[in-house]
Symmetry: C2
Subunit: 409 residues, 2 copies
């Protein structure tokens, strides 16, 4: 029997999806599970988008251009212009979800053994894409205690080596909900220019910025056109995760022509998804206003509930639809599995994502979980009741005293 | 300005798509182009498939399971059973086109620097996927003069090294149209068992086997379950290239659980495409009978026409919808570009794929082109007239005399 690859061995399983078998078993046993573990919103996709699919008049489901349907790429320019992002049609490569945008960007820009600096906690799949590309993730620690703000300049300087080739952020951030300020981004620009680094930004949550905080994109930075790679997706924007449509955007011509070679090898992004995505650009502003109001209500509810539970701490996020919560527990992996396997309250339980998967140093996430507030308020209410009850009886409960901990049993 | 990756530099541009800018220019000048350069059929997709899309009743375009929608995977079992391929639901990973099946299979099974033996000429994008995975393609030569039959056993033995990890075929073959016999596949089985190699087969053209030749799949080989990886796609089967739905299939549990980690990183294959693909399994047999009859007529016409042109040789393919033709030309890249840039006959020209991109040793393809007979008979007729006229006036025409050549100018 031939062996599997080293890359395959080192590829991390998804921390968000690895608990799925336990959830399946719990459901089979009749338990109701509230899924706060995955960024799959319950929000309806825009009507214009679904109508475009229902009215499709294709006879042959053809390949599109490898860079994406031209009319869609051209129409996207107007979408970005609303955010004061000025790009040309040639700067856009349509990808199969944001996932492929990251894969292609990494293969295009980084060599095996190169290092990419990412503030942790970060979206767990960045680990997977880095493993695929043979790239080493160098984390810089951001703390729940100051709302996961960007670590200061000197923290980056300390970890920059001759192998450092890029810095990557997610803005607004999955998993923390942190919205990076203009000053934080300018600090990254200075680093990128000084050390000649690529600056990758995954901005798939730009529609979800709250409390009148303004969104500042890496595309707003000046004098950095050759270094900036914007990674995007329509998955969250239109609650259309299954369309698998994203984009890689850069004004660096060499990067885009190289990325195009990878894009040609896989032929084209999905045609149906692109048709839906093109139509979605006409989504009325009212849709986004309603969605944002809904998420603000959910966030406010969840944050208030969490912070009222003894021993729980949660910073108030300014964007995306996630929060990280510090819980009075021994181990978030054990706890999340226990919630599915051993716990129920009135026949119900809650599924969370252990934060260990969002840190390069897994131990930093042992007391934290990521909560995606992607369910309606009624469901969130029940989910919070479950979590509160669970924390009362969890055998691995630990009391936090400042930075020290006492195991209760 | 940061540099691009070594992989990016070495990534081959698509030989099938690299002439596109010349074609765009020719079209802008008003030339009619017959596209025989790409496997994008003009055949209509099945009605059941398009109806499923038009009748979609989703409210939220959700992610699917990372391995694909479960009902689709279960239904696929019946599809394969019709071909006497007996697999379980767990043996199937739904991918974003056949392209992603190849990418994931390579990353799962092969290390950087490992070697994969592929009979040449082969589908050009195998080069791209190998470059992405850091894998070295070791070609074994198959000749147009004996219909691109599998090279004999000892040719493989000569190139097998300690780094050899897999053999890959495309059956029926793109670009040659060769349909591998049971004996050829058994010969590959012996090699795979003797040297403990993976055997990859891209069988996306199984619906296109002609002249009562029977299709023999690698899945029909016995005693090789741990070594076999089937790479599949619905793109050609249902003329649905843009749906981007494929599959990676293996009974090797370790391979599939490792592949699943790569699949989880990219979240899920496209939802719309999967819905269409699931519906397509109910396509009536009449559809395939009509499509096959159409392709047989096209093939017969094209082969007859080609072989009637002075200096042209073309073997009669038994499968897929391609043929390789040897032309009396100096250089197929130059010729194909000239067809677009310099030539027209009654305002028309033809676009072909230079065979250089299908050989690891590009010089072997300098006198050959790949022709995809994916247009209707009227268009094919005009395309063949164009080619015939072009060969009469092409400045780089060369007369073939046995294996020697005389340049005419």
């Amino acid at each position: 029997m031939p062996s599997i690859s080293e890359k395959g061995k080192h590829m991390p399983p998804s921390p968000i999806r690895k608990l799925v078998p336990y959830a399946d078993k719990a459901k089979a046993e009749g338990k109701k599970i509230y899924h706060l573990n995955i960024g799959q919103p319950d929000i309806e996709s825009p009507k214009v988008m679904l109508d475009a699919i229902r009215n499709i008049d294709l006879k042959v489901i053809e390949y599109s251009h490898s860079a994406g349907i031209e009319s869609y790429r051209r129409k996207l320019i107007s979408y970005y212009k609303k955010y004061n992002i000025n790009i040309n049609f040639e700067d856009i490569l349509i990808t199969t979800g944001g996932s492929e945008a990251i894969e292609i960007a990494m293969m295009t820009c980084l060599n095996e053994g190169d290092e990419i600096i990412i503030p942790e906690p970060f979206y767990a799949n960045y680990n997977g894409f880095s493993t695929q590309a043979g790239v080493t993730v160098v984390p810089v620690f951001s703390s729940i205690r100051n709302g996961f703000a960007l670590p200061p300049h000197d923290v980056f300087e300390k970890v920059i080596t001759p192998r450092t080739k890029a810095i990557m952020i997610c803005n607004p951030s999955n998993p923390t909900g942190h919205l990076y300020s203009k000053e934080e981004l300018q600090s990254l620009r200075d680093l990128a220019l000084k050390h000649d680094l690529y600056l990758f930004a995954d901005e798939v949550y730009r529609e979800f910025c709250y409390d009148n905080n303004s969104y500042f994109s890496i595309m707003h930075l000046e004098g950095l056109d050759e270094n900036i790679i914007l990674l995007d997706s329509i998955s969250k924007r239109y609650s259309a995760c299954g369309a698998r449509i994203g984009a890689m955007i850069s004004k660096n011509k060499k990067v885009m022509s190289t990325a195009m070679k990878f894009a040609q090898a896989r032929l084209s992004p999905p045609t149906f998804g692109q048709i839906a995505a093109e139509a979605a650009i006409d989504t009325p502003q009212e849709y986004f206003d309603n969605v944002k109001a809904e998420y603000v209500a959910r966030r406010n509810f969840v944050i208030e509930q969490l912070n009222s539970m003894p021993g729980v701490f949660c910073a108030k996020p300014s964007g995306a639809f996630y929060c990280m919560a510090e819980l009075p527990i021994d181990d978030s992996d054990t706890f999340c599995q226990w919630l599915l396997e051993k716990f129920s309250y009135k026949g119900q339980t809650v599924m969370l994502a252990p934060a260990t998967g969002f840190y390069s140093h897994a131990e930093l996430g042992k007391k934290e979980v990521r909560i995606a507030y992607v369910l309606n308020l009624d469901d969130l209410k029940n989910a919070m009741i479950c979590l509160n009850e669970a924390l009362k009886v969890y055998p691995g409960r630990v009391e936090n005293i400042s930075n020290n901990t006492i195991v209760m049993q």
